[in-house]
């Protein structure tokens, strides 16, 4: 019935025949990690291309259209160029931390990808504290940014990194609380459980008004968390140059760049899983074909990614003080009230179920 699963089973059995169970486990983990790494590196590249195309269309331009059919190979060419570039660094940089920082950022964003259920059986790691794991892992990335800014021994990079730290740590709170609002309905942190609950209607429908408020807060905070415009305090060309990655070049710069786009995908994927039913098809129209779940998951995620790009090309940038005012005076109090409303709704069974 399920072709990919049967192929995986065949490989598993074949490996078990030729080596001990422990080695099989390690080899399978490595294989899956390699597959995810390749897939999401390519996905990150295409997100960059999508960003450039969407930006062009918003500004009535055409966008990249020279390399490959309609410019589809543009970011591949860019990545090849970045790989071939020299890795430069400053003399007074803290070499160890300087080289370590990009890996913190990229590894934390790739680790977060492991827990997403792309369809019923396609999930690398179904951990029972899924949402908690995601929030925790997405906080680790900021260490890489702070390390990068600190170790480059450049005042602009340091200021950029500090701004990023302030921003990410503040908005983490809103992300956590808005997801907590939805956890009140599901009663579970496990991502596969959360999707099971949504078979009676997506959570944004089940939770109606408080869920929509939570979704809006989540999208605002998520955009801020990924350091994207209108919250791109970190990169201010006139004030700070390129921010925390001013001193980075070549592949190390590409890691930061790729991580930013993969983080955007992760934020959209969490919203898809928690608010829009993950791999579930709308009204269950393709319930009989389980592998189409991947399509639905990616479709919903890319719509949300597009929404974030829409924000970027519409709204003007915020100042640092406006950024913190928005978080601490508006999003946080609304969020706390919203949790109480959601708790009352769940308690009195006012959720909409199909």
């Amino acid at each position: 019935m399920n072709i990919p699963l049967s192929i995986a089973n065949n490989i598993h059995n074949w490996l078990l025949n030729i080596m001990p169970a422990m080695a099989v486990g390690i080899i399978e983990m490595a294989l899956i990690a390699l597959a995810y790494l390749t897939l999401f590196a390519v996905l990150g590249l295409y997100l960059v291309l999508m960003e450039r195309k969407v930006a062009a269309w918003f500004q009535l331009r055409i966008g990249p259209n020279r390399v490959g059919f309609h410019g589809l190979l543009q970011t591949m060419a860019d990545a090849l160029k970045l790989v071939s570039k020299e890795l430069t660094g400053t003399v007074k940089a803290d070499k160890f931390l300087y080289n370590l920082a990009p890996y913190f950022v990229i590894i934390s964003s790739l680790m977060a990808l492991a827990v997403f259920p792309f369809t019923k059986d396609l999930q690398a790691f179904d951990i029972n504290i899924g949402i908690f794991f995601l929030i925790a892992i997405s906080s680790v990335g900021v260490i890489g940014i702070l390390l990068g800014g600190w170790s480059s021994n450049n005042k602009f990079a340091l200021i950029g990194a500090m701004r990023s730290g302030v921003q990410t740590i503040s908005y983490e709170l809103s992300i956590g609380l808005s997801l907590l609002t939805m956890i009140l309905i599901t009663g579970s942190l496990q991502l596969s459980e959360i999707i099971e609950v949504q078979k009676n209607g997506w959570l944004i429908v089940q939770g109606h008004i408080p869920a929509i408020i939570a979704f809006m807060i989540y999208m605002i905070a998520g955009t801020a968390e990924t350091n994207r415009a209108p919250f791109d305090m970190v990169e201010a060309e006139s004030e700070l140059g390129a921010g925390f990655h001013t001193e980075y070049s070549g592949m190390k710069f590409a890691y930061f760049f790729l991580a930013e786009f993969i983080n955007m995908f992760i934020i959209a994927a969490i919203a898809t899983t928690v608010f829009f039913g993950g791999w579930l098809s709308p009204f269950g129209i393709t319930q009989s074909i389980p592998w189409l779940g991947v399509f639905w998951f990616l479709a919903k995620t890319f719509v949300l990614v597009f929404l974030m790009m829409w924000f970027r090309w519409t709204f003007p940038r915020l100042r640092v003080d406006q950024l913190l005012t928005l978080e601490w005076k508006y999003l946080l109090p609304i969020n706390l009230v919203n949790i109480v409303i959601m708790a009352v709704i769940v308690w009195l069974n006012f959720t909409i179920q199909f």
Partner: protein, 158 residues
């Protein structure tokens, strides 16, 4: 209460902004303003107010409207225009009259400020929409605007 109305107005204005950019996004196919230059070299036509270079239009009888008053030469801030002129006897009246020999224009020095065109009392010179001005030798940028054998149009000086 102003707290809540601020939130309401904030969300409303944000959505207004998003609807504006959304319309641009949907209509971007029709209204793309990017010119794919070397590809559309044959069809590309510059817009009316584009300042390519200064030209002097001549009509079919090889007559221009320049009287040689040198107002453009004086108006030019960086000496781009040089007028070599002479006096000749007018056949009709028998009087000596100023006429241009060469109206020399150094495109290489021109900043496209347009002061000469504003200064011209007879509209003898105007902007061309030519945009391919690169050459291999800068002497080619020095142009004589009046065509050889041309003369001033009758009735312009009155």
């Amino acid at each position: 209460m102003s707290y809540l109305s601020e939130i309401y107005n904030g969300i409303k204005t944000l959505l207004t902004g998003m609807s504006v950019t959304g319309k641009y996004f949907l209509n971007s196919r029709k209204g793309a303003i990017t010119q794919q230059y070397p590809d559309n070299r044959d069809t590309l036509k510059m817009f009316e107010r584009f300042r390519g270079e200064v030209v002097m239009p001549h009509d079919e009888k090889n007559e221009h409207q320049c009287t040689g008053c040198q107002k453009c030469e004086i108006a030019c801030p960086n000496g781009t225009i040089e007028i070599i002129w002479d006096r000749a006897i007018d056949e009709d009246t028998g009087k000596k009259k100023k006429k241009i020999d060469k109206h020399i224009y150094h495109l290489g020095m021109c900043t496209m400020c347009g002061l000469c065109i504003e200064a011209c009392p007879t509209d003898a010179i105007k902007w061309a929409q030519n945009y391919e001005n690169s050459v291999y030798d800068r002497t080619q940028l020095t142009r004589v605007l009046n065509k050889p054998g041309s003369k001033v149009k009758a009735g312009i000086e009155d």
